[in-house]
Symmetry: C2
């Protein structure tokens, strides 16, 4: 029997949002002990309801929607996951167990990365000051504006018609009339650096991030202007 479901919430290569709530239900229906979700590119930009969706481990990162420097990751852990962690009793450098009592005992298991903690604390404070709902709505508006502008230029979005498009990143098909290296260099000449793709999507899809402080209509408009001049 499977021991864990692993899933990426916001899949940046395809610009889609996977249905964590449905996957949590599948976990419960099939008695899979754990579901581990990578919410790195959604946390702060879209709702992540770990308790309601029965997500046991939710892994976040500092450098996406939180707009803090890269280098910090953090994980939300359910009571059921702590039970499994205790049973497994793994003690390596990448083990979660030593962190169970860290907050209670004021004892950080390894060298504390104070600068990263301070930056993450500032980023989380900024997000709470704005309000989570307001942040989600800001990301949604930026994404909609981005998608609409691209489609008005005749560009095609990558996500399939039924897919939930991510509020934090837009994946766009490279037009057939141009190669990706040529498109990329034309973008760069206009000061726009976008994400390319890897593996099967290499050269076929590019990505526009609108996460955290970049989920801003003025910034999206600047990017759209640069794209308009090229295509």
């Amino acid at each position: 029997a499977p021991k864990m479901i692993t899933v990426v919430h916001c899949e940046t290569p395809s610009g889609t949002l996977n249905p964590l709530d449905e996957l949590g239900k599948i976990k419960l229906r099939h008695n899979v002990p754990l579901i581990y979700a990578d919410v790195v590119a959604s946390l702060g930009g879209a709702p992540v309801l770990t308790d309601e969706w029965a997500i046991d481990l939710a892994l976040g990162g500092s450098q996406k929607c939180l707009s803090a420097p890269p280098g910090m990751c953090f994980v939300a852990i359910s009571p059921q996951a702590w039970e499994v962690i205790d049973q497994v009793d793994y003690q390596g450098y990448d083990a979660l167990k030593p962190f169970k009592t860290a907050q209670e005992n004021f004892y950080f298991p390894y060298t504390p990365y104070w600068h990263g903690m301070a930056a993450l604390n500032a980023a989380a404070g900024r997000l709470l000051d704005e309000g989570l709902e307001q942040s989600y709505s800001r990301h949604k508006k930026a994404a909609e504006y981005c998608r609409q502008g691209l489609q008005e230029m005749g560009l095609s979005l990558f996500p399939a018609p039924g897919a939930v498009q991510s509020p934090t990143v837009t994946a766009v098909k490279v037009p057939e009339s141009i190669t990706w290296p040529e498109l990329d260099s034309r973008f760069r000449l206009r000061g726009l650096v976008v994400g390319g793709s890897y593996g099967p999507l290499s050269g076929k899809v590019f990505r526009l991030g609108h996460m955290g402080s970049q989920a801003d209509l003025d910034l999206v408009e600047l990017a759209l202007d640069a794209i308009r001049q090229v295509v």
Copy 2:
């Protein structure tokens, strides 16, 4: 046949420096393909001659003798080690292989941690400005001054008589007349926080770090003063 020797150069719990040069010779004599040395607590404070000592992988950290913020690690890799890395062909997140062409191609395999890179660059520049030999000599003097002061107070050093005492950290026996928690709290009352020990040395040994910017006779003297008032 063994595939790799792993060793810690400066062993902070015991305050000793292991003979990497001798271990490199053992590697060559017994045809062990690789030797992996943790030089985290020695790099910058003591010579680390990877080529002369036939060390294939030398792992460093930002937060010890380099006195940069924690969060960065880096590894020096020999041509022989690159051959093994190519053969193993491991591609996981902790793989070395994607970094082989990183510098040449100007392509960092994962999210670059710019802030850490900048800090590490500044720390390395500071070390080169001082001069490596000068830094080693500064660490040696600070360590000797520390050991002498402690012994003059009647304290015993932990390293065995034949051991090479580390120039970056001094391990001291907790006197029999006092418990470690009591000693620790008396130190803290005087503004001195020293490292305790874990496992078999727990409560028996404490450690004074004199690494990087802390390898400074005035700072060592301040620590010795606080210790003098207690013992």
